[in-house]
Amino acid sequence: MTKKFRLRVAALLVVALVGGILMGGVMADESSELMFPVPEFSDHPIPTASVPEVQGEVTPVLDVAILFVALCLASYFTLVSRSRRNVLLLTIASLLWFGFWRQGCVCPVGATQNVALAIFDPTYVVPLTVVAFFILPLVFTLFFGRTFCASVCPLGAMQELLAVRSIRVPRWLDHSLGLVAYIYLGAAVIFAATKTGFIICRYDPFIPFFRLGANTDMLLFGSCILLISVFVGRPYCRYLCPYGAILRVLSCFSKWRLSIPPDTCINCQLCEDVCPYGAIHPPTVTQSPERRRKGKRRLVTALMLAPVVVLVFWWLGTALAVPLSQWHPESRLAEQVRLEELGVAESTTEASDAFRGSGRSVEELYQSALSRRDDFVTLGGLLGAWTGLVIGFKLIYLSVRRRRDDYQADRAGCVSCGRCYWYCPVEKVRLGLIADVSEALPDGRMPTGPLVQLTVGGKKS
C-alpha cells in the first residue's frame, strides 16, 4: 500500500517535472525573446497593428495605354502627317507626363534591367507594366523607326527641347562615342543579372530634374549632360542610352521610317545642316576605281581584324573581374570586413557593423565574395567579348560603302524628331506655306554645289 502510494507520488512528481520543463520551455519560447512581457490589462485588449493596402498612383493598365497611344501618335506624326509641330507638342506632353508627373519611372530604358534580371533570376517576378514598357517601343521601332525616341521618351524629350545650338560632332568622334552605349548596355545587363544593381537607374542624369532631388554628384552629372545637350544634340541618347542602342539596331530593319522623299528632293542640303544629330547623309559621289579597290582592301582587313578584336577584349575583360565584382555591395562589405579583421581599417562602416550584428560568419561572407569574383571572371570576359564584337561590327560597318542618290536619314541614328520637315522647302510647298521651293532657300539660291551655311536651330526662314 505504502509502496504503491510512493510509486504514485514518484510518478506524479516525474509527470509534474516533465510537464513543468515542457511548460517552462513553451513559456520561455514565448516570453524569453521579450525583455519585458506584454502585460495583461483588466479592460484593455492589446490592439493589433494595421498596415495599408497596396495602391499605386496610376493603374498599370492606364500607364501602358498612355504609352501605346503616345507611340501611335508619334508614329502618325512622323510618318503620315509629317508634322514637326505636332511631334514637338507630343514631346512636351511626354516630358510633362512621363517625366515630371510620373517622375521618369517606369521607363523602357530602365525596364531593360528588370527584363535582364527576370531572365536570369527565376524567383524575380517582373511587373507586367515593365514588360509592356520594354517590348512596346521595340515592336514600334521594328515597324516605324525610332518614333519612341522622338517624342515619347522623357529623357529624349528633355534633350530634344534643349538642342538649340547644335554643333556638328566630327564623324570619327561620333562613331567612337556611339560605342559607349553598347558597352553600357552590356554592363547594365550583367549588373542587373547578378543583382549587383540597376546602374541605368542609378546613373540616370535626368532623374534629379524629374524628381527635383538628388545627391550632388548626380545633380552635377545631370547638369553637365543638359548643358552639353544645348551644343551637342541628345548626348545621352547618342552616346550613353542603352535602350537607344537596342533601338538603333532594330531601327535598321524597320518597315517604314522617316524619309526625305527622293523624287521631290531638290538637294538643297538644308536638312543635313539642320539635323542636330548628324543623322542625315548627303548623296555619295562616284568613286575612282583606285579608291574602290582601297575600300575593298579595308573591308577585308576589318573582317579579319574583328575576331582578333573580340579575343583581345575578351581577355582584357577577364582581367576586370575584381573591379567589376566590387560593384556588388556584398563584395565591398567582404573587403571592409577583411580590412577590419587585419586591423588596418580606419573605422567600421554602417554595413560592417550591421554584418557583425547579423550573426553571419566571416568565412561565409568571404566564400560568397570569392565565388562572386570567379563569376565575374566569366562575366567580365563576356562583357569584353561583347565590347570587341561591337567594335568589330563598327569597323566592318564603316568599311562597307553605301551608295546614296539622295539625301537620306541614317537608319540607326535618326530619332524621327522631324526637324528636317520643318526646314525642308519641299515640305513647305506641300503644306501650302510657300508657292515655290526657292522662297525657302537663303537668297533664293538653288544650292547644287557648296554648303549652304545656315545657323542650326536659328531662324525659321
Binding site: 492589446i46 490592439p47 493589433t48 495599408p52 550591421a354
Partner: protein, 216 residues
C-alpha cells in the same frame, strides 16, 4: 537592274529580321508574363529582423516624405513607463515631454496611460503614421528593450521604383522583394503571437497575417 535586285535582297533580309524581332519580343513577353501566374509582382519591403535602424530610410527615399514608416507591434510591446523608444536615455528618468527628452523628431509617437498595476504604470505607444518620417530613432531605441517598433515600406505611398534607392543605401541588406499578395513582414517573434491571436478569431490579427509574408 543590279541595284534593284540588291534592294530586294535587302528588303527580304529586313522583313526576315523584323518577323524574327516581333516573334522573339512576343516569346520574351510571354515567357516573362507566364511567370506572373505563379505569384504577384514584386514589391519592396524591409525585413524587420535584419533592419538596424540606420536612418537611411528617411533620407534616401525618392519621395519627399519617405514611404517607410514605423509600425508598432503591440503584441511585443511591454507598455513600459520608461520607454527607450519614446524617451532619450537622458529623458528616461525625468520623463518630461520636452522635445530634448523625446526621441521622435516629429512627435509621431503618442503616449497614453492605460492602467496602473502592482505599483507600475503602463502606457500605450501608438504611431501617428502621417507624422512619421521613418527615421528609425524610436526603432533603434526600442531595440534596447523589446523591439516592438519596426519599419515597413507603406504600400499606399511606395511608388515601387525599379531599384529602390533606400535598398541601395541599406547597410544591412534588409530590403527584400515580396509578392504584392503579401507585401508586408513581421518580426519572427511576433509571427507566432499573431497566429495565435488570429486563431482566436481576432479579425484585425487575421487581416495583418493575410498581408504578411512569412519565410517559414
Amino acid at each position: 537592274m543590279n541595284s534593284e535586285k540588291q534592294t530586294d535582297r535587302r528588303g527580304f533580309l529586313a522583313d526576315g529580321a523584323r518577323v524574327a524581332g516581333v516573334v522573339s519580343a512576343g516569346v520574351l513577353g510571354g515567357f516573362l508574363a507566364g511567370r506572373r501566374g505563379q505569384a504577384g509582382e514584386n514589391l519592396w519591403q524591409i525585413d524587420p529582423d535584419k533592419c538596424v535602424g540606420c536612418g537611411n530610410c528617411a533620407t534616401h527615399c525618392v519621395l519627399d516624405e519617405s514611404a517607410v514608416k514605423c509600425v508598432q507591434c503591440f503584441d511585443m510591446c511591454g507598455f513600459c513607463n520608461r520607454c527607450t523608444g519614446y524617451y532619450t536615455l537622458d529623458g528616461l528618468d525625468s520623463r518630461d515631454t520636452a522635445a530634448e527628452d523625446l526621441l521622435c523628431p516629429t512627435e509621431a509617437i503618442i503616449r497614453t496611460f492605460v492602467e496602473g498595476k502592482a505599483g507600475q504604470n503602463f502606457y500605450e505607444y501608438t504611431i501617428d503614421t502621417d507624422a512619421c518620417i521613418g527615421c528609425a530613432m524610436c526603432v533603434k531605441g526600442c531595440a534596447l528593450m523589446n523591439g516592438s517598433l519596426y519599419l515597413q515600406v507603406m504600400h499606399d505611398r511606395c511608388v515601387n521604383c525599379n531599384e529602390c534607392a533606400i535598398a541601395v543605401a541599406c547597410p544591412s541588406d534588409a530590403f527584400v522583394n515580396v509578392s504584392s499578395d503579401k507585401p508586408y513582414r513581421l518580426k519572427r517573434v511576433a509571427l507566432g503571437v499573431m497566429r495565435q491571436k488570429a486563431g482566436k478569431a481576432d479579425k484585425a490579427a487575421q487581416q495583418l497575417i493575410d498581408q504578411v509574408q512569412a519565410d517559414d
